[in-house]
């Protein structure tokens, strides 16, 4: 599992595959205030990105890989601002 869930945050690690999207979505629905930690995330499947975009959550930590961060930040940060 590339995602560690706790009550207040989901920590995404290494590569998040599409198999984990269902769980992620469930967790996001169950934890409307849950935050996201992408610090150790190297890649996430497009489906996971879409789910996160839709969830509009605070991102605690951005991926260390700046290029990856560059791809996803505009999409996820926008929600954070609101």
């Amino acid at each position: 599992m590339a995602i560690d869930y706790s009550e207040e945050r989901a920590i995404l690690k290494s590569v998040v595959t599409i198999q984990e999207v269902d769980d992620l979505q469930e967790w996001l629905i169950a934890h409307p205030q849950g935050e996201i930690d992408l610090g150790e995330c190297e890649h996430m499947h497009t489906a996971a990105l879409q789910t996160l975009t839709s969830a509009r959550r605070t991102i605690n930590a951005w991926p260390a890989d700046t290029s990856f961060r560059g791809w996803i930040e505009p999409l996820l940060a926008k929600q954070e601002a609101q």
Binding site: I18, V21, D22, Q25, L28, I29, H43, M44, H45, T46, A47, A48, L49, Q50, T51, T53, S54, A55, R56, S67, F68, G70, W71, I72, P74, L75, K78, Q79, Q82
Partner: protein, 1015 residues
């Protein structure tokens, strides 16, 4: 070759056939739409099939073809003969590709160059027509004029870029604009840091690529991760993901539908990119940009951010190639400046470019000039005349290459500097045609917006948007002399009096605005209605609406998104002219629908096309399971052989019955065997019939290639020919049908080439200009008749006679004796047609003997009738099946032999006294005709005399061999029988006297005589 590949090849062949039918149909059809739809569908399927394998060349050609068809579907008027030719050519390419696939066992030898050329040609067609279409679109003057104009500009730019690369040298050179390259709406939103980074990473000589990738919604199910694909793009400089998920509730989200789109910049080679996206070529749009496209000033707009003298000093330094000075000026000025301003971006560019040690001096200067021009433009300063950075031939060349851009730049600098005194009309005249048109449309539209109801809630925002559009448009075209008046008018308008603005518009474009200054007082209920969701939806189009966004900075009080919202609403309102209210509600309620609609204007044409395609093809009509099964011919042949053996085996039963009765005296048993035989016989015969049916093919199998053939040849010869094909469902054995293909093509070609005259000649002769060629297939008893008839100039028998005589094929007597009909048939004689004669003659006869021998091979006959100036008719008669042959069994010297029934005219008993010897040849007179007689024993070198019956009569079988009738003297006749003839194999195959052998019921072998060889 794998079974999958085999199936692919066979399906491709079928699809190609349908394509070529449809192509011809399109040319004829009145209602092109249906046919084009069908055509598109087939090409789409075909292209989809190629996706299973790795044949990039094939896919490329088909993809181009598909795009063209898709375009044609929307605008059938682009269809013309040249396009049909091109598409035919492409289909030929696909067909030859399949051939090479089969020949090389799945490893095609593909002609990459041809593929590239074809796809370029096809695409050139697309682009050429596209720009026209855009001109039209701009004319139609709809609501979102600015976007459209911009779109048209982008498209044209793209088209020219592609044309250049198509026609240009093999070393691709990006279209380097000497002036300001158009600002790319997608790039414009990028932070300047990203742009600088990308610029530094790319070499000025290499193009960079803007890739737009819109994966299919269901792509996750195909194991795709588009984000990964995008991220792993070779040479990626920058990229972003867009999706509308933010507006969607997480509870309702279907995460397995891909709704993301990707945009990225790459400096990899075009090939690398195509390779990377080869599986999703349909969903990607790769646009070529030069590094100058990156030189954009992103950030906030502010007119007077930099003092004019600073800018001038900067430009001077650039002009003098004092990069250090320029860099210093920039660094100093930057310290004083808000980093978010566009001016600051320009300064950062200057610093970045001057400190880029890799860049050549002239390249750097070119880039700096672009930056400076943009900066001046942005600061509303007049243009600065820079000298050419690189005064050698290369530049000259380039200048010529890029004439349009060049002239645009000239206009730009001149109009900004010198035209202050000229009146509006002259100013506009000085603009490039495209710019002028776009400008007029934009102003006109704004005029119309001004005319709208000023009492609505959003009137103020709308007015702002209008003002902003006008100011920006005017400034961007360098019409600086118009600006002061405009600014005044705008100020007045914003403070409530739109009259001066309307006047200004009318001054520029007379009659564009009829609005009377009715001050919009309605700024009260301005902001309440916007909820965050709504805003969010509208974020998509923010790059389209740069103008609209900018105004908020000027007024400095509104959220940029908000005014963007307003202007979009305005433009929508302009489209529907009213009912903006409901549109607003819609927006709020159904954000996910509104979002794509709002982004639509930014989409490039290709993208849009892809989207259209995707949407129109998602509900692929369910294909009914095909009722036919493809079976290898060998399997049917095996069935055929088995039923042959079965027939023989069953035919042994009567012999058995006979033996039971005669030798063992078991009459009952014999009867039972006979009864049993009747049952087996019936089943066997039915089975044989059914198997024959399997082998039967309709005539259409070969006739369907004629329309294309006739079209191609007649086009090449400039003749008008109407082809009529009748009896396409006439069936015959596969072998027969296939053996007919070549000869028929030959005949048709002859008819077109030498038979049917050119239209003007035909008119002179009083015939309709359009010649007609009829191919008719019909069934007569157990034979298939094929008739090819034209109404051309026919064959002159006199010419044929003389030629045949000269050639020594006939003697003087024959020449005199031959009737016209017989003379015409001389063209079928072997040796008659050789090249030199053909050119003298009407030409008929090219390879006619080849045709004839092909027909002979399947036991067919052919005859030719012709009348000068009336036309020619060729009749071919063929057996329906060659699998089962009916033979006459004869006996000679105690041996049984078969003679094919279709050669047998009659069997007679000739009294010995009626046989006379004429010139050492035995003859007899039958039905007033002299028939030469030949003894079979003699012919076969059997040492026995032919046996005579008690009445001293010879058994004579009268047979037709070619055009001759001869009497074959045999010992006795034994009736006729159906046999399955097997060709002679092994050492026997050299024996020409027999055409084959067959087993008969008693298990003995029957040799079938080949009379032609025997005589």
């Amino acid at each position: 070759m794998s079974p999958l590949l085999q199936q692919f090849v066979s399906e491709t062949r079928d699809l190609l056939q349908s394509i070529s039918e449809q192509l011809l149909e399109v040319e004829k059809a009145d209602d092109k739409q249906t046919t084009l739809n069908e055509l598109f569908r087939i090409v789409h399927t075909l292209k989809g099939n190629t996706g299973l394998f790795e044949f990039p060349d094939l896919t490329r050609v088909l993809h181009a073809g598909e795009d063209v068809m898709s375009e044609a579907r929307e605008r059938p008027e682009i269809w013309d003969q040249a396009l049909t030719d091109l598409l035919f050519e492409s289909m030929d390419y696909v067909s030859s590709f399949c051939d090479s696939l089969e020949e090389n066992n799945g490893e095609p030898v593909s002609d990459s160059k041809a593929a590239t050329q074809l796809s370029k040609d096809l695409r050139a067609y697309l682009d050429g027509n596209n720009s026209e279409a855009n001109a039209e679109a701009t004319d139609s003057g709809a609501a979102n004029e600015p976007q459209k104009a911009k779109k048209a500009a982008t498209k044209t730019k793209k088209a020219t870029a592609q044309k250049k690369s198509a026609g240009g040298s093999s070393k691709r050179r990006p279209p380097r604009a000497k002036g300001l390259p158009p600002e790319h709406s997608l790039l414009k939103v990028l932070p300047v840091d990203t742009l600088i980074e990308a610029w530094t990473a790319s070499s000025p000589d290499e193009p960079i690529w803007l890739v737009k990738y819109s994966p299919l919604a269901e792509c996750f199910f195909q194991g795709d991760d588009p984000l990964h694909t995008a991220r792993s793009t070779p040479g990626v400089l920058w990229g972003k993901v867009e999706n509308a998920c933010a507006t969607q509730d997480i509870n309702d989200l279907d995460p397995y539908q891909c709704v993301s789109t990707f945009t990225l910049l790459s400096n990899a080679s075009e090939d690398e990119l195509h390779e990377h996206y080869r599986y999703v070529t349909e969903q990607t749009d790769i646009e070529e940009l030069s590094s100058h496209h990156l030189l954009l000033l992103s950030g906030d707009d502010q007119n007077d951010a930099l003092p004019e003298d600073t800018v001038d000093a900067l430009c001077d330094a650039v002009e003098a190639i004092q990069f250090d000075t320029a860099s210093d000026i920039a660094t100093t000025a930057l310290e004083l400046l808000n980093k978010d301003l566009q001016a600051a971006a320009a300064l950062r560019w200057v610093i970045a470019i001057t400190s880029d040690t890799d860049a050549q001096e002239n390249e750097a200067k070119e880039a700096l000039i672009v930056v400076c021009q943009r900066l001046r433009h942005n600061q509303h300063l007049s243009g600065y005349r820079f000298s050419e950075p690189e005064p050698d031939e290369k530049i000259e060349e380039r200048k010529e290459e890029h004439e349009p851009e060049e002239s645009r730049l000239d206009t730009y600098t001149e109009s900004t500097t010198d035209l202050s005194g000229a009146d509006t009309e002259d100013l506009l005249d000085a603009l490039v045609e495209d710019d002028r048109e776009a400008f007029e449309h934009i102003v006109r539209t704004q005029g119309r917006i001004l005319e709208l109801d000023p009492t609505v809630d959003w009137a103020k925002g709308r007015l702002r948007a209008t003002c902003n559009v006008l100011i920006k448009t005017t400034a961007s075209l360098g019409l600086s002399s118009l600006i002061p008046a405009l600014e005044e008018a705008v100020n007045a308008a914003l403070s409530g009096n739109t009259e001066p603005l309307a006047d200004w518009i009318n001054e520029v474009i007379p009659g564009a605005c009829s609005a009377v200054g009715a001050g919009s007082e309605s700024n009260s209920a301005e902001d309440e209605s916007r909820n965050p969701d709504n805003l969010d939806t509208q974020q998509g189009p923010e790059d389209t609406d740069m103008e609209a966004t900018d105004i908020s900075e000027e007024s400095g009080e509104e959220n940029p998104d908000e005014s963007s919202d307003e202007s979009t609403a305005d433009e929508a309102a302009e489209g529907s002219s009213e009912d903006t209210e409901s549109q607003d509600t819609e927006t709020t309620e159904q954000p996910e629908i509104q979002a794509p609609a709002a982004t639509a204007p930014v989409e490039t044409p290709a993208e849009k096309q892809t989207a259209d395609k995707a949407s129109s093809f998602k509900p692929e009509p369910a294909v009914a399971p095909s009722k036919s099964v493809k079976v290898d011919q060998e399997k049917i042949d095996r069935l055929m052989n088995l039923i042959g053996e079965m027939t023989v085996a069953k035919n042994a039963l009567p012999f058995l019955a006979k033996r039971a009765e005669e030798q063992h005296g078991l009459r009952d048993l014999a009867r039972e065997i006979k009864e049993q035989f009747a049952v087996v016989n019936r089943i066997a015969e039915e089975m044989q019939d059914s198997i024959m049916q399997i082998r039967m093919m309709p005539f259409s199998f070969i006739s369907m290639r004629f329309p294309r053939l006739v079209r191609d040849i007649s086009r090449r010869l400039n003749k008008d020919v109407q082809l009529v094909i009748e009896g396409e469902d006439t069936e015959a054995d596969k072998n027969i049908i296939e053996s007919l293909a070549e000869p028929l093509i030959h005949i048709v070609r002859n008819s077109l080439d030498h038979g049917i005259e050119a239209p003007d000649v035909r008119k002179q002769k009083g015939k309709p200009a359009t010649g007609s060629l009829t191919i008719r297939a019909s069934q007569e008893a157990d034979r298939v008749m094929i008739e090819i008839q034209d109404d051309g100039k026919g064959i002159d028998p006199e010419v044929i006679r003389n030629k045949a005589f000269e050639k020594g094929l006939i003697d003087e007597a024959t020449r005199q004796r031959l009737t016209d009909k017989e003379a015409v048939n001389l063209v079928l004689m072997p040796g008659f047609s050789t090249a030199d004669e053909v050119s003298d003659l009407s030409g008929r006869g090219v390879g006619m003997d080849a045709v004839r021998s092909a027909v002979d091979k399947v036991n067919g006959t052919m005859a030719l009738e012709s009348q000068v100036d009336k036309g020619t008719r060729i009749r071919i008669s063929l057996p329906m099946s060659i699998a089962v042959t009916r033979v006459m069994i004869i006996e000679s010297d105690n041996q049984l032999m078969g003679i094919p029934m279709d050669q047998v005219l009659e069997t007679v008993r000739v009294p010995r006294s009626d046989i006379h010897t004429v010139k050492h040849v035995k003859t007899t007179v039958l039905r007033d005709r002299i028939v030469p007689l030949k003894s079979l024993n003699e012919l076969l070198a059997l040492p026995a005399e032919q046996i005579i019956n008690e009445e001293e009569e010879h058994a004579v079988l009268v047979a037709r061999v070619g055009n001759d009738v001869i009497g074959l003297v045999v010992d006795d006749f034994r009736g006729s029988v159906d046999i399955i003839q097997k060709p002679m194999t092994g050492v026997l195959s050299g024996m020409q006297a027999y055409s084959g052998a067959a087993l008969i019921g008693d298990g003995s072998v029957l040799m079938v005589l080949n009379l032609k060889e025997v005589l």
